[in-house]
Each structure stands twice: as structure tokens, then as C-alpha cells.
Subunit: 343 residues, 2 copies
């Protein structure tokens, strides 16, 4: 492994910096006019994900404009089910749609041997981005098995992930088979992104916050730990960022299980909790995206509270959730200046 050459990699390697590195979830997105322009040329959302030239272009746009300390490949967590043979589509304002998995037989029909053709497009995007990035490190990512499974079973995003939770209660054996398939596929997918040039990987468990503790440990923490272990075995030394969004008290068992190098923190996590967590690993977060939309005192007070609490700790500044399309670009500029000035 090369010596860390960036503030972002330094913090992942265990350092605390005076001014934390900053990047923003969904930093390549609709709040940027240049993104909207490229998006309009691409066709569908998935067409953009699968077009290495255009996906690399939108990945690089926020780096060029703002000089963020990390880049993240433009893609989607549902690339994995799409690659496994469960076709995904996105409709404006409606979110993703998949033909829902109906039963154990449908799980058995998913085919890991099919994934190469899709994953290669993402790897090519990673290569193109790395060629254009200079020293800024690129983050590869995937959805966590639990979160991806909730979409595959419901066929869409749901407010409480009830279809997957109910399946797991009624038929834990077949649910485990789906999770195992996603663990294996996700390891290969992350390792492929690392081989293509990603310097860190992030596992997004967006729906980790709905499960009772026993189910959290079985369906969130254990599968994420298996993904992390598989990546370490095949791409040793690449830092791993976990993000069990909303898991709150379960963060402690999550970090113990996964031994993650860093954890994403959602908007509601308290400074006390993040500080305690930073004794175990780097922490990343957690400004409210709506404070960034609002700007003014909401933005300044919110960012300063986080910076003050995390001073001297292993901290990567980020939002607690993805940036919203209605966010004014000037507010992002203001935030970066504030973070780089140390508060």
C-alpha cells in the first residue's frame, strides 16, 4: 500500500487533523448545473451509471468545482441486483422499481456468473476517474446486503422495509441464502473497484435503523462483517467505511463485528456519541442536509457544533445523509470554507 497522500486517507489511517477533510454524500448530483446538463444527455439514470465516460465526468465535476478531499464513484447500490438478473429501473420522482422477489425459487434464479458485464462498466468508470483525479482518492462503494435485500424483496423503497423484515421472520433460511449471495457478490464487486483504482470502500446500510437488536446483529452487522472480511482477504490494506444509518445504539456492536476503519454518522447522532466512537475508528458526518439547504445561521451553527465536538478527533466532515437537489451551490462553498477554516 502506498503511503497516504491525502488528508482523507490520513484520517482513515488513524490521524486527527486540525481541519478535517470534507466530501459530501451524493456530491455528484442534481444540485449541480453541470450534473443536470450531463444527466440530460445520458438517457435514463441507469444509462448514466453504465456509461463510463459520462459517469466519470459527473464524478469529477464536484472535485473540479469544489476541490473535495475525496471522490466517490457515480453509481447506485441497486447496480448489484441489476447485475444479478433482477432488472432495475428508475422513474423520475418515484425512485427505483424492480420485479419483487416472490419466493425462495426466485432467489435461486439470481446468477452471480452474470454480473461481470455490468460490473465491468463500473470498473471502467473507476479507471477513468482515477486517471483524471490527480492525488484525490476515489471511494468505491456498494449497498450492504440487508439494505439491498429490502429493495429486492419489496421491489421498491418502502417506509419501514416491512416486506423484507416479514420474510426474514417467516423464512430465515431463504433470507439467509439471499444475504449470503449478496455478501459474496458484494465482496467481488468492491475488490473489482479497488483493483480498478479505488483507495477506500464504503458499505451503505441505509435501512439499518429499523431492526430490533437480534435481527440487526444477524442481518446487518454479520453480513457487513463478512463483506469487510472478504475485502480484507482479497485487497488487504484498503480502508473500509461502514454506514449503518440510524443504527444508533447498535453502532458499538457493528464496529466490533466489522472492525471498520471509519463509520458514517447520520444526522441524529449526538456529538457525545460520535466522540466516543472516534476512540474506536474514524467518524464521518454529520451535518443535516436541510441545514445546508437553509444556509445562514442553521448552516453555520450546525457545522460549528460538529467541528467543535470533533476537534482533535479522527473526523471526516460530511453530511448525515445525501445532499438534496434544492441545495444552493453557494451554501456548499460556504460550508467548505467554514470547515477548511476549522470552524
Amino acid at each position: 500500500m502506498k503511503a497516504p497522500a491525502s488528508p482523507f486517507l490520513c484520517v482513515l489511517a488513524g490521524e486527527a487533523l486540525d481541519a478535517p477533510p470534507i466530501w459530501i454524500m451524493r456530491q455528484a448530483g442534481r444540485y449541480l448545473p453541470e450534473y443536470r446538463e450531463t444527466r440530460a444527455r445520458a438517457g435514463s439514470f441507469l444509462d448514466l451509471c453504465y456509461n463510463p465516460a459520462l459517469a466519470a465526468e459527473v464524478t469529477l465535476q464536484p472535485i473540479r468545482r469544489f476541490g473535495f478531499d475525496a471522490s466517490i464513484v457515480f453509481s447506485d447500490i441497486l447496480v448489484v441486483p441489476d447485475a444479478l438478473g433482477q432488472p432495475v429501473s428508475f422513474h423520475e420522482g418515484e425512485g427505483p422499481r424492480l420485479p419483487p422477489l416472490e419466493n425462495a425459487a426466485a432467489i435461486a434464479k439470481l446468477d452471480p456468473a452474470k454480473t461481470g458485464a455490468v460490473f465491468e462498466k463500473v470498473y471502467e468508470t473507476v479507471e477513468r476517474v482515477c486517471a483524471g483525479l490527480g492525488d484525490t482518492p476515489l471511494i468505491g462503494f456498494c449497498g450492504a446486503p440487508w439494505t439491498v435485500a429490502t429493495y429486492m424483496i419489496a421491489g421498491r423503497g418502502t417506509p419501514d422495509q416491512a416486506p423484507a423484515r416479514l420474510w426474514a421472520y417467516r423464512d430465515p433460511a431463504s433470507f439467509q441464502a439471499l444475504i449470503d449471495l449478496l455478501v459474496e457478490t458484494s465482496v467481488g464487486y468492491l475488490v473489482g473497484q479497488i483493483k480498478a483504482g479505488a483507495r477506500a470502500v464504503m458499505i451503505f446500510d441505509s435501512w439499518a435503523g429499523v431492526l430490533p437488536q437480534a435481527e440487526f446483529e444477524r442481518w446487518c452487522a454479520a453480513p457487513a462483517a463478512a463483506v469487510a472480511k472478504g475485502v480484507r482477504e482479497r485487497a488487504s490494506g484498503t480502508p473500509i467505511i461502514g454506514f449503518p444509518r440510524g443504527a444508533n445504539e447498535n453502532y458499538a456492536s457493528f464496529v466490533a463485528a466489522t472492525d471498520a476503519d471509519a463509520l458514517g454518522c447520520d444526522t441524529t447522532m449526538t456529538p457525545e456519541f460520535m466522540t466516543a466512537l472516534a476512540a474506536r475508528c474514524a467518524v464521518q458526518g454529520n451535518l443535516d442536509p436541510l441545514a445546508l439547504v437553509a444556509g445562514g445561521a442553521a448552516l453555520e451553527d450546525g457545522a460549528r457544533r460538529i467541528l467543535a465536538a470533533m476537534r482533535g478527533k479522527r473526523h471526516i466532515f460530511n453530511l448525515g445523509h445525501g445532499i438534496l437537489p434544492e441545495t444552493p451551490v453557494e451554501h456548499v462553498e460556504k460550508l467548505i470554507a467554514l470547515v477548511r477554516a476549522g470552524g
Copy 2:
């Protein structure tokens, strides 16, 4: 105040019982055939809430059928905005709709003097239920100011309460005016239910889980504390149950601010956290409603884990969220038998 005559009131007064008392959120609801029959005769959902004879009937149905240890008046948290002059309607499968508050002037038009006509119907329901209940205590309730405000501003339920959060960031002064109005109205409404016969009151803060700590303290904890204080001043000795659903790490500051006699715990709260909380007050919860839908091992394991963790503590058994319409009645019977047997 009369000496507690029920297991439910004993636990609220500080005792720990071998087999905890049990009631279920939304126990008067669509999973019961007798509820569906009454509901069909009532007209709209709000027509049922505002019909004291029928509302009392559905409140009593689950007590007659299951012998729950507490009853809760059949009503809705949106009775308060409806009473204040912001008309609420419910559409099957769509949830509530209100004409959204547009600006500070719309808040100023809400009229606490108008609430009497609506609230009197609920008080009459409370009186009728108490007459039919025997020794089973009745719980009165309201929505917490924050949660009610999110509906009043958005005009509907929203996945992340963004409209209210954004209003509070952009114009905290007018948002505070709305919260203050809701505090004052809620105190009067809860005191009215107590005078009509309620033996405990519960404050439902269903959307407490979306706010950063500073905003949680200002918009959730402080208003709930003001409601609790107002109720104590005017109806001393009536136990108060708080339920800042999803607030997780913020429960500690919530209980410190409100001095609640009991706290509702949502599905995701760990046994360790509930046990620690039980040193401060009684705790109520927290079986996953989907485990009750699934039945079998999911139901038995889930319930037994909670009972084992809370043995010897001040515990009221409940779900972590409202019972779902698709829940088989036999699963409720099974749960009650299991809880009454102590696990």
C-alpha cells in the same frame, strides 16, 4: 389520587411486577373484526373519533376480548389541529390530509378558543369508556407539539418531516410560536381528558427521531417538558408517559427534561438501553409489530428476549409501534398468554 388499583398503575408508580402489565398501541383497530364492523357504521375515520358512543365502543372492544391491563381512548393526534381550525381529513390508504400552513400569518389564525366543541366530544368518549371499564385504567393522549407541527406544516405525513425541519431552520421565531400554541392547547386537552376520567396520559412524539441533538432539545424535549409541567400543575399526580419514538441517544436528555413517569420504547431500542432507562422511570415496549404478524418463533423469541431483559424492572409490555391491520387475532392471544406466564 386513589391508590393504584391495577398492575399498569402500580408499574407507573414505581413497582416492578413478576409478569408485566400489557396493552398494545392501536389495540382498538382494524385487526379486530368487531372494530371493522363498528367502523363501517361510523362514516369517516374522524366521524368515528367524534362519535362518543361509537368511539367508546371501539375503545372497549379489545378490553372485553383480551382483558388488556390498560385502555387508551380511541382518537387521533390530529384532533388538535382540527380543533384549532385547520381541517383534517383521512382517506383510506393515504393517511391524513390538512391544508398546509403556508406562513406565520396562517399560524396566527389558529384559534385555541375554538377547540372546545371538538375536545368536548373526546371528553365525552373518555367518560363513557370509564363508565364501562371497571377497574381497568384509561390512558388519555395527545401528539407532541413537534410531531403535530410536522403534519400541520406539510399537510400530510412525510418520510423525513423535511417541510417542518426546513421551516424551523429558516424561521425559528414563527416555528416557536406554533410550538407554543400547541403546548398550551395540548395541556388543556390532556387536563380535560384527566378530568373526564383518564388515569394516565401519553404524549406521542412519533417523529422525534429525525432531528439533530440541538434541534431535538429545542423542538422535542423542551415542548414535551412544557406539556408535562402544565399537566402536573393542573392535574397533579397523574402519571405521564413520553414516547419520543426513534430518539435513541436523546432519550436521556428527554427524560431529564420531562421527568416522565414512563417512556415508550420503539422496536429498535436494545435491552441494555431499556434496562438502563428503567433505573430512571418505567419503560414500555417494545416487540416488533411484524414479529406479531409473523407469529411462531419470531413472536416467541422476540417476546421472551424482552421479558428476560426486563425481569425485575419497571416494565409495561407493549409493541414498539402500533399493531398492524393484518395481525392475526390468535397471535395477540398467544402474546398475552406468554407475557402473563412471565415468558
